[in-house]
Each structure stands twice: as structure tokens, then as C-alpha cells.
């Protein structure tokens, strides 16, 4: 299952970054596909990107709400929020585990042999702060004389944007190099920080900082497709605790917002078929082995 997941992740990377004409055009993709939302965090300023980033675009719409209202337009970000909501309600954080390019990047870094460290659970709450403050409140509140705000998360934090767009665009467009300054150094430093952290800890950005992960996490407990525990089949052997890449105890915290639904616990750990995939309440896999044995 984990091999399939890696392939699915790779397919998503190339689906949402499918424009390979950029070395010739010297510019990013500008076709109609860019009205489609990337399910994972993927900068739309990446030269290969064929879709828009929900977090980047939501900020762009929110930072210009006052300006657009003053000019008689009603761009409130509902199109983007509606798309994000439909994705979140349908898949929850399955998207993080299966369709996010930056998630895959961190997973590959974690494969580098080194001593591994855990991440304190209290840091997991930070990503909600980033979502509320940097994606919603600050772009809405701090505006200039024209009524325009800033994309705070993209501008000051997002390491995915630096990796996918900042570095490639500077290499691709030589004129941009003369404009680099403190802001770029800050973003490169954040990227380097997360790259190093990803070698020693599993998916640190997803767990502590990603605002899109925070948004999807809200729906993890109720999403249409989710992992469910069969309590009758669970023997509390704790095998699921040992394999979890985000260090949750699945059988104790079912529906946790931290679970990226990678299914490692289901396919690589549980010997009692106590964990299964449920779609709108209907389980897709067979009943737990322990319960079957008990009933005989």
C-alpha cells in the first residue's frame, strides 16, 4: 500500500506541475487550467504549476476584499473557500498523505539516514494559528492606503513557495536577481530550516505550520472518506502507535486532526483488521479478525 501511495503522490506532483514548456517560454503556465484548485499546497507561481494554490489564492482574495468592494466587485473568496471546503469534507487529510507535493518532499528527506526525533504535540497547534492569523486576519486587517493587504503567509513563511517558485523563478528570470533582498534571505532561511528539520523529524511543516493542513484537519473527524477503528476488533496491542509518521495513537485518538490517513497503521501494523476505510459511513474492508474469531 505504501508503494501505491508513493506512486499516487508522484502522479499528483506531475498532474499539478505539468507545464514543462517553461524553459522555452521563460514564464509560468497561463492557460485556463489555472482556475482549478490544487488539492495540496503547491505555489501557483511555480513555473510548472497548472493549478492555483488554495492558500495563496485565498489570501489574494481576502487582502483585496476592501478594494474590490470599493470598486463594485464582490470578490469575497467564496469560490476558493467553497472548493477547499468540498475537498476537506470529502477527503479530510487524505490529501496531505496522498496528494501534497511538499508532503512528499518531506517524506523523501526523512528517508535520509540520521537520528530521528519526535515533535512535541503542543507544536501541532501552531498550524491553526498560522491559518487564522497569517491567512485570514492579517491580510484582511492590515491594508495600505489603497485598501490592499499583503499575502502574509506566502510572503513571510511559505517554504513550499520558495522551493517551487522562489528558487526556480530566480534561476529562470535573471532580471529578478537584482531585486533580491532581506525578504528572500528570510524565506530561504525558513526553507533550509524545514529541510533540515525534515531529515530529523517526520513531516514537521505539515504538523506545525501548514495552514492548508490545519483547514483539512478540521474535517478529519467527519470527512466523507476516513479511517475508522473497529473497537470490537482492536486488541490494544499498540502496533499502530509504532508505525505512525505523525506520532498519533490511532486506536486512542480516532479522527484526530493530525492523522494524514497514510494507512500505514491499517496495512503495515494492525494484524486484527481493526482499522478500515469508511466512505460516508459504509466500510470498504472486511470485519475485524478478532471479532470473527470471537463470534465462532
Amino acid at each position: 500500500m505504501q508503494t501505491i501511495r508513493k506512486w499516487v503522490q508522484a502522479v499528483w506532483v506531475f498532474l499539478i506541475n505539468g507545464f514543462w514548456g517553461f524553459p522555452i517560454t521563460g514564464n509560468l503556465y497561463q492557460g485556463p487550467l489555472k482556475v482549478i484548485c490544487s488539492p495540496g499546497l503547491n505555489c501557483y507561481s511555480c513555473p510548472a504549476s497548472t493549478t492555483y494554490c488554495p492558500i495563496g489564492t485565498l489570501q489574494q482574495l481576502l487582502l483585496s476584499v476592501r478594494f474590490s468592494l470599493e470598486t463594485g466587485k464582490y470578490y469575497l473568496g467564496l469560490f476558493v473557500l467553497g472548493t477547499m471546503g468540498m475537498l476537506g469534507v470529502s477527503f479530510g487529510r487524505f490529501i496531505c498523505g496522498w496528494a501534497c507535493p511538499f508532503g512528499l518532499f518531506q517524506e523523501l528527506l526523512y528517508k535520509i539516514p540520521s537520528k530521528k526525533y519526535s515533535i512535541p504535540p503542543s507544536l501541532n497547534l501552531l498550524k491553526y494559528v498560522f491559518f487564522i492569523l497569517f491567512v485570514i486576519v492579517l491580510p484582511l486587517v492590515f491594508v495600505d492606503q489603497f485598501g490592499l493587504g499583503k499575502p502574509w503567509f506566502c510572503k513571510y513563511i511559505c517554504p513550499a513557495g520558495t522551493l517551487e517558485a522562489g528558487i526556480p523563478m530566480v534561476l529562470l528570470v535573471p532580471d529578478l536577481r537584482s531585486t533580491l533582498g532581506v525578504l528572500y534571505v528570510n524565506k530561504i532561511s525558513i526553507l533550509i530550516g524545514f529541510v533540515l528539520w525534515s531529515v530529523f523529524a517526520s513531516r514537521p511543516f505539515c504538523r506545525t505550520t501548514c495552514p492548508l493542513g490545519a483547514f483539512y484537519a478540521i474535517f478529519n473527524r467527519i470527512s466523507l472518506i476516513k479511517l475508522v477503528l473497529d473497537k470490537d476488533a482492536c486488541t490494544n496491542c499498540k502496533a499502530c502507535h509504532k508505525v505512525c509518521p505523525v506520532e498519533i495513537r490511532f486506536n486512542e485518538t480516532q479522527g484526530s486532526g493530525e492523522c494524514i490517513n497514510c494507512m500505514k497503521c491499517m496495512t503495515d501494523a494492525c494484524n486484527f483488521e481493526a482499522i478500515h476505510v469508511s466512505v460516508a459511513g459504509y466500510r470498504l474492508t472486511k470485519a475485524g479478525r478478532k471479532r470473527l474469531i470471537d463470534s465462532q
Binding site: C43, Y44, L61, K73, Y75, F79, G166, K187, L224
Partner: protein
């Protein structure tokens, strides 16, 4: 397959679909496309 249909995600899906449709009727996709077609210099750490 066995189980009981969970209605909460379906109701929420309907709610977000409504938001999406309102955004669509307000012409937001044009703005999204306009935005996504251009390089956001601020977003990549320039400017």
C-alpha cells in the same frame, strides 16, 4: 459493505457547494485565473 449513511459530511458538502456557486456567480473565477496567471513576486520572496 455495511454501515449507516453519515449525513453530516453530505450536508457540509452542500454548504460548501453553495459557497462555491455564490463565488462563481460573483465572477470570482475570472479574478482567480487573473491572479494565478501572473507571478506573485511577494509570494516568492521578492518585493
Amino acid at each position: 459493505m455495511k454501515g449507516k449513511l453519515r449525513k453530516t459530511p453530505l450536508v457540509l458538502f452542500g454548504f460548501f457547494l453553495l459557497l462555491w456557486l455564490i463565488g462563481l456567480s460573483l465572477g470570482e473565477p475570472t479574478r482567480v485565473l487573473e491572479q494565478a496567471k501572473s507571478i506573485c513576486l511577494q509570494c516568492i520572496g521578492i518585493g
